[in-house]
């Protein structure tokens, strides 16, 4: 698998460091964002191959970030994997409806998350 540039938008520092570490171990280059605005800015500037997005973010909520990403021609094609503490069926359906490529709920299996990342990158890069 090719190494990819991944943007990780996650407000919880422990979760952010853990997931970033997992992705880096796979050889990916990881940019980190702690809030919605920073995530949008990084997505536009860095054009990552994949965005891993928590929907619970300070400032601009992850759902709004996802909508903004899909509304912007510059970021519309970047696949988004939602990794969220929001695990209700309606949250998952909404995330996928807005345009997320995949939706993983927390707590998660590390190997499952990595497999889903791999599959999205294989499809889109």
């Amino acid at each position: 698998m090719k190494a990819a540039r991944v943007l990780l938008a996650e407000s919880d520092p422990v979760a952010r460091r853990f997931v970033a570490g997992l992705l880096r171990q796979q050889g990916h280059e990881v940019d980190e964002a702690a809030d919605g605005e920073a995530a949008l800015r990084a997505a536009r500037e860095r054009r990552p191959h994949l965005i891993v997005l928590e929907t619970v973010l300070p400032g601009r909520d992850g759902g709004e970030v996802l909508e903004a990403l899909k509304a912007d021609a510059a970021t519309r094609r970047i696949p988004v994997l939602v990794l969220s503490v929001r695990s209700r069926e309606e949250d998952v359906v909404r995330g996928l409806e807005i345009g997320a490529e995949d939706y993983v709920t927390k707590p998660f299996h590390t190997q499952e998350l990595l497999l889903r990342v791999r599959k999205i990158l294989a499809r889109t890069t």
Binding site: F18, K106, H109, T110, Q111
Partner: protein
């Protein structure tokens, strides 16, 4: 030797200043010490965390001991424990089990188990909490013993820890605890069992018949909220239980499961002698969407208990156009309470507003139907919404017609 007043004053001031200076120095030194320790902990965490994360994220069988610089100092042990507990909340399945294995391998689980025997209750509570997050199966037996702790807080945290660890040996004592309401909050226990999901279902189904009635009520509540189809047979049996609370809770759980196959049993329960069962059955039927129940629900609109009438009305409203027609027909019911409940439901469902809007319809038949409907509602004396619409409606024609009818029809005529 005697001192003058002036000397005593100077001495007092000097001692006071000296004491204040010492206190200030102590505070400054303490703060500096704490900050230095925190900075040291941060540095140690920055060094240890990547290794613990690497272990937690790996799929291989290597022990945590191979990732860490051993032996760990007491400070590093505490930091590694904090990292493991932090990351445990993010993970499930095999990844989560690796955290439990690491806590066992480093002796952290054994230390926390020892903590369950501490003299201070808050230390025991903290130990129970940690063991739940660690998820170590080694802790099951000591935590079961902690369910008998004299402190409420320790018992509840031990229960929560068992719920987190899961597995039948953890869940069984929690199900048994449902039988002892004097020592447990049934609501908190139920939440723990709901969190345990399928593991709790097995144990609840197996233990159900041996539980006292109040525990069976809690068990049905948990099964309903887990929404497990495996409880369907038990619910069908429980809706005929001799205890009315059990029957009511079974009806409620049937609604949560929303299996159309429950419609017959719930329609039968609408005739139950206990009003709580009738009320719960009506509510459940609304959730099931059982159209066949519309005639019996319409009958329950005349029930002597308000809750039954209200839930029957809610259910009819939830049943779409046919339910709505039944509510409109209820405006002609012989029973005053049924008529009033029907108006309340039609108002809440926006149906009164729809008829009001038709007062200015271009379609003559709709206008006539709307006038007849509005007159009927006014005759029942329920004019709050209509009076509001007579002033606030966006269409002038509607407002004028509504005012005309309100003046012409005597309020509360029926």
């Amino acid at each position: 030797m005697t001192y003058s007043d002036r000397e005593i004053l100077v001495l007092t001031i000097a001692v006071t200043v000296g004491v204040l200076a010492l206190i200030t120095l102590a505070i400054v030194l303490n703060k500096a010490w704490r900050e230095a320790r925190e900075a040291f902990d941060r540095r140690r965490r920055a060094a240890l965390e990547p290794e613990v994360f690497r272990y937690a994220g790996a799929a291989e069988a290597r022990s945590i001991r191979e990732y860490l610089p051993l032996p760990l100092t007491p400070r590093d042990r505490a930091i590694v424990e904090a990292i493991l507990l932090d990351v445990a909340g993010l993970l499930k399945g095999a990844s989560r089990e690796r955290i439990a294995t690491a806590c066992e391998a480093l002796g952290l689980a054994a230390e926390a188990i020892d903590g369950l025997g501490a003299r201070r209750w808050w230390r025991r509570a903290e130990a129970a909490e940690k063991l739940g997050v660690m998820g170590s199966k080694q802790a099951v037996e000591p935590l079961v013993a902690a369910l008998k702790d004299p402190s409420d807080e320790v018992r509840m945290r031990a229960a929560r820890a068992l719920g987190r660890i899961r597995g039948r040996t953890s869940i069984r004592p929690l199900v048994q605890a449902l039988s002892d309401p004097s020592r447990w909050s049934a609501i908190r226990l139920a939440e723990i069992l709901i969190g345990a999901g399928d593991d709790a279902v097995d144990e609840l189904l197996q233990a159900f018949d041996g539980l006292p009635a109040h525990a069976r009520v809690s068990a049905l509540d948990v099964l309903g909220r887990i929404r497990t189809p495996r409880a369907a047979d038990l619910l069908r049996r429980s809706i005929r239980d001799p205890d009315a609370d059990v029957r009511a809770r079974a009806a409620h759980a049937m609604g949560l499961l929303a299996d159309p196959g429950f419609a017959g049993a719930l329609m039968g329960a609408l005739a139950d002698e206990a009003w709580a069962v009738r009320a719960m059955a009506a509510k459940a039927i609304g959730r099931l969407g059982a159209q066949a129940a519309i005639p019996v629900l319409a009958e329950r609109m005349s029930d002597r208990e308000w809750w039954v009438r209200s839930n029957a009305g809610d259910a009819l409203r939830a049943l779409g156009p046919a339910g709505r027609e039944a509510l409109i027909r209820t405006l002609d019911a012989a029973d005053t309470y049924a008529r009033h409940q029907a108006v309340a439901q039609l108002e809440e469902g926006g149906i009164i507003d729809e008829y009001v809007a038709d007062l200015a319809s271009a379609d003559a038949a709709r206008r006539v139907a709307a006038i007849a409907f509005v007159e009927k509602v006014i005759a029942l004396g329920r004019v709050d919404r209509l009076s509001h619409q007579a002033v606030e409606h966006t269409q002038e024609g509607v407002r004028r017609k509504l005012l005309e009818i309100l003046k012409a029809v005597p309020e509360g005529a029926s």
